[in-house]
């Protein structure tokens, strides 16, 4: 590009070269835009490579000529590349950590998520319940205990409404017509769940509602994504009974 001699200023590119560089940057951006213009290329993996390469080219041209690393002390280039490399490696590591190991990030998280046992105990300041939750006990809601509980029906529907609209976040995904604020649309409308539940599977209404909470993916309602989280472990047994009683009462 330049002779490399003379004083510092003459080492910078001339105006004409700056104009040419600007045009090149423009053209590259225009090409990038054209690449994603056809609908088939939008969001396609095919476009990813060229787009990344073109932007690396732009990046390189700007730092080399506009930021004149090409003409400056090589130490500056090393300093900058150092930070750039570190930033890139951290990014790749982070993405790899979430996405690279098994499947999509979501699958990875779902497969590994551990319920936060301490939450309820902390909230009620009940340290013995918290201590107990740390001792592995047989899962409270296995198939058989489920059936046994079904007959108890000991819950308090009024208290269940509070659970439903509380911090568990049911209302963010479900609509309940007589409950202000319960307007979520990600999951089915639960205004008549006490009736609907009995028709979903061979289970009784109460059993079905319990199953929906214990194992949300056991039966996925048609037209909905299997995104309902497992929230059974985030509530106490009492809250659970109240919640079920509340939902059963919604006929």
């Amino acid at each position: 590009m330049s002779s490399g001699h003379g004083n510092e200023h003459s080492k910078h590119p001339s105006t004409k070269k700056y104009v040419i560089i600007a045009i090149i940057l423009f053209v590259i951006t225009a090409i990038e835009f054209l690449i994603i213009l056809p609908e088939s290329m939008q969001g396609s993996a095919l476009a990813f490579g060229p787009l990344v390469l073109l932007s690396i080219a732009k990046f390189y041209i700007v730092i080399m000529f506009y930021m004149h690393l090409k003409f400056d002390n090589p130490l500056l280039t090393k300093i900058f590349y150092g930070g750039l490399a570190l930033g890139t490696v951290v990014g790749i590591a982070l993405i790899g950590l979430y996405a690279g190991l098994t499947g999509t990030p979501r699958e990875y998280a779902e497969a590994r998520a551990v319920p936060y046992e301490g939450y309820y105990a902390e909230k009620t300041n009940d340290s013995s319940a918290y201590a107990q939750s740390l001792i592995p006990t047989p899962a409270p809601m296995t198939e058989s205990s489920n059936a046994a509980d079904a007959s108890t029906g000991s819950g308090d529907a009024a208290a269940g409404e509070a659970v439903f609209s509380g911090t568990l976040g049911c209302v963010g995904c479900h609509t309940m017509e007589d409950l202000p604020g319960a307007v979520g649309v990600l999951g089915p409308n639960l205004s008549q769940i006490g009736t609907v539940a009995g028709t979903r599977s061979a289970l009784s209404a109460e059993e079905y509602i319990k199953e929906s909470i214990d194992a949300p993916t056991a039966y996925v309602v048609e037209g909905y994504a299997p995104v309902m989280p497992e929230l059974r472990s985030s509530m106490s047994d009492e809250e659970y009974e109240d919640l079920v009683a509340y939902l059963v009462s919604k006929k």
Partner: protein, 209 residues
């Protein structure tokens, strides 16, 4: 006092590397700023496509409009190098024109961004709406903050030029401002590619039975 003035006239304050102290420091800063934006960009990429509620990128991103604002920012980088070369030539009129042009184009870019954020808010996307909103606004917001700081810096230089403080003896003042401005431009090159061109067509989870 006399000593300070003396030092101010001494444009090149070098160390054993032969590079002016301020310039060296500034490149170290830019290097660390790469880590800053690297972290924000990675966060966006990690949470990409994981929002459970809309709006999703495909619903609201306006790619043609953002391409225009990208062009504006690229243009401003060109104006910035012209301001630097005018400073080297002690072309006072050129210095003022190009500094103002750079700052104005930066302001146009920010105008586009404010419009974009406004539109998004009207379509129901706030920073707390979903993962897309949180990571998008954090990243582009910090970039916008960088651009805004650069605009202030440019106007300060513009005003100083009327006091005769921008000239070839102080070329480093303009050069460092330029380094900052171009850096903000290259960060946008990365954001534009990853958030708009590559990730701009991301939709929500497929709702199936």
């Amino acid at each position: 006092m006399a000593q300070i003035t003396e030092a101010a006239h001494h444009e090149e304050e070098q160390n054993c590397t032969g590079i002016d102290n301020r310039k060296l420091l500034f490149w170290v800063f830019l290097s660390t700023d790469c880590l800053f934006f690297g972290a924000l960009i990675s966060t966006y990429m990690v949470y990409r496509g994981q929002s459970l509620v809309g709006p999703y990128p495909i619903d609201i991103l306006d790619i043609p409009l953002t391409t225009i604002s990208t062009f504006v920012l690229l243009c401003s980088s060109f104006a910035m190098v012209m301001a630097l070369s005018a400073t080297q030539k002690d072309d006072l009129k050129g210095i003022r024109i190009w500094l103002a042009a750079t700052a104005v184009m930066g302001m146009v870019f920010i105008g586009f961004q404010i419009f974009e954020f406004w539109e998004f808010a009207h379509h129901g996307l706030l920073i707390s709406t979903n993962l897309f909103g949180s990571t998008f606004f954090t990243l582009t917001g910090f970039h916008g903050a960088h651009v805004s700081l650069g605009i202030v810096w440019l106007w300060v230089l513009f005003i100083l030029s009327f006091r005769g403080k921008v000239n070839s003896a102080r070329v480093l003042d303009v050069e460092i401002c330029g380094l900052y401005w171009h850096f903000v431009d290259i960060v946008w090159i990365v954001i534009f590619t990853l958030l708009y061109l590559v990730g701009g067509f991301d939709a929500g989870p497929v709702i199936t039975g």
